[in-house]
Amino acid sequence: MSNDPRRIGPHDLGGLLLAEGEKPIDRDEHDFAYWERLVDGLIYVLGAKGYPADTAAFRRAIESLKPEDYTNLSYYERWAASAATWCTELELVTQAELDAKMAEIKARQTAGDAS
């Protein structure tokens, strides 16, 4: 059934049985990390400003992740990946600006680890 041509993306899991090596969803309550709260806040601020104009764009960016990325990313990592997709599509930010910021953060973390 996992090859069902009607399936519309890696999220379309209704009725599928766990395959070898797959784990059931962790349904335990857990605290959110600070960065997860930031992602949540950012998405709601963008939403309040009308970006994206419809939730479908937000969902499409998540559901069109490569299956391995969809599986490996956590909930708020998917949100962040989605925002990066449509923020660049809508030209709110360029990919070059995103790349530069990520390189800057990575350099800061590496420096922090070294000290």
């Binding site: 009607r6 009725g15 994206p52 764009a57």
Partner: protein, 98 residues
């Protein structure tokens, strides 16, 4: 806004594929259900997902399906149902025998 279906109508959820983003999971495609609520018109996700207007809007309906019909190996009660909201352009009329 004209609505094609009303409460109590039997419908079939389209079995078709669509490469564009859409809101119809595989497990309901091709199955019959009953309209239990006419919801509001909404922009079409097949277009709005790509930052296009998604007009004209289409009515969304809440459709009730039988669990026993959805899952061939279902062991729950016969009366168990699942409800899902589906856009009008993904629903087909089913002709009743008189």
């Amino acid at each position: 806004m004209n609505t094609r279906f009303s409460d109590g109508d039997t419908v079939r959820i389209s079995h078709r594929d669509d490469e564009r983003h859409h809101r119809v999971p595989a497990y309901v495609k091709g199955h019959h259900g009953t309209i239990v609520r006419v919801c509001a018109p909404q922009v079409q996700p097949e277009m709005s997902a790509y930052h296009k207007p998604g007009e004209p809007m289409r009515t969304v309906y809440r459709v009730r399906l039988d669990q026993n019909d959805l899952w061939s190996d279902y062991t729950g009660r016969k009366s168990d149902t699942v409800e899902i909201e589906i856009f009008e352009h993904w629903l087909e009329s089913v002709n009743h025998a008189p």
